[in-house]
Amino acid sequence: MSDLGAFFLHFLLLCSMAIGGLSVVMPDMYRYVVDERALVTPRQFADVYALGQAAPGPNALWVPLVGLQAAGWPGAIAATIAVFLPATLFSLVAVTLHARSENSRLALAVRRGLAPVALGFMFASGWVLLRSAEHGWQGYALAFAATLAVLFTRLNPLVLLAGGALAGISGLI
């Protein structure tokens, strides 16, 4: 299979299992494009993720950027389809089944059972991202400060990202 086809199938499979959002499967996307295929460097992965957060729109748009970096425009298109096609189909299926099943015992078990697992994956995403940028201690301190700022202030995330950019440009990290 071509590299692009394998990339597309891998991302399609991951996105089809991403209950709880894409941050749940981000560590495996990283593992695939950085560690296994070496299509993207660790630093590039962290960069395009940050770009995706700074742009308007759903946070998931960093995935097409990973595709662009991994395989050019065909990669961007493949990643876009991989993210949004299964989400569209599963959502439409959920709409059709909804009235009966939202509070069914199985739906409840899935939601309650998977919640802590998805959270563990989310922490893994933050950790993988932090490690990939190869920061010094200043980078970890900045990430920690951003975590506290989100938890204890009402600052817009965009303000924090701009602050991060300034901290970087001024040589603080």
Binding site: M17, I19, L22, S23, P27, D28, R31, D35, A46, V48, A50, L51, G52, P56, G57, N59, A60, Q69, F84, P86, A87, T88, F90, S91, L92, A94, V95, H98, L106, A107, V110, G113, A115, P116, V117, L119, G120, F121, M122, F123, A124, W127, V128, L129, L130, A143, A146, T147, A149, V150, L151, P157, L158, L161, G164, L166, G168, I169, G171, I173
Partner: protein, 193 residues
């Protein structure tokens, strides 16, 4: 609207939905481009508070549904709301509005990155932004984890998932394949534990 009226059910309601598919598209396009740092805040504000298409209760139920479905939560919610007001075509138009314009912007940024990403000042700026972006994920995780029950089981599952994916970097399919069915089965058998 009764407490059981989900976001997807057709029920008599005082609040009106969009007058046309065009209004549906334009509204979601507006939400998409104003959604800096996450769309959720703007989506609730526009749909519930400004347009009155949904009640808060309906929005929250829809959001919970969106979390059960694989993929980005706000995107899933958009498919469901679009479908409610306009069937298949409504769903497609709503998501085209939500992600179309932002996709153009983000891919333009990506193209710029491919040309200028290596310059030192861009590298330094993105380094700082990347650290903050990691902090945003961790903060999101912390605030969600605060809602977990204070019992051993969910925390053991959380740590196992973190260890497998974050520390060991095992493939998702193995970690989820091992932990997912176990977690669902445990929640099924003893929902209270």
């Amino acid at each position: 609207m009764g407490a059981h009226g989900g976001v997807l059910q057709e029920e008599p309601r005082i609040a009106q939905g969009p007058r046309s598919l065009r209004e549906l598209f334009v509204t979601f396009a507006r939400i998409g481009v104003s959604g800096f740092g996450g769309v959720n805040f703007w989506m609730r504000r526009v749909l519930v508070q400004q347009k009155g298409w949904l009640t808060d209760q309906e929005y929250l139920e829809g959001f919970a549904m969106g979390q059960l479905v694989p993929g980005p939560n706000v995107y899933n919610l958009t498919v469901m709301i679009g479908h409610r007001f306009g069937g298949w075509r409504g769903a497609l138009l709503a998501v085209a509005g939500l992600i179309g314009p932002p996709l153009v912007i983000v891919l333009s940024l990506g193209a710029l990155y491919q040309s200028f990403g290596g310059t030192p000042i861009v590298q330094r700026a993105l380094g700082g932004m990347g650290a903050v972006a990691a902090g945003l994920i961790l903060a999101n995780g912390v605030s969600l984890a605060a809602a977990l029950p204070r019992r051993a089981r969910p925390w053991v599952l959380l740590l196992a998932a973190f260890f497998g994916m974050g520390v060991m970097r095992w493939p998702f399919i193995y970690v989820m394949g091992a932990l997912g069915p176990l977690a669902i089965a445990l929640a099924w058998m003893r929902p209270e534990a």
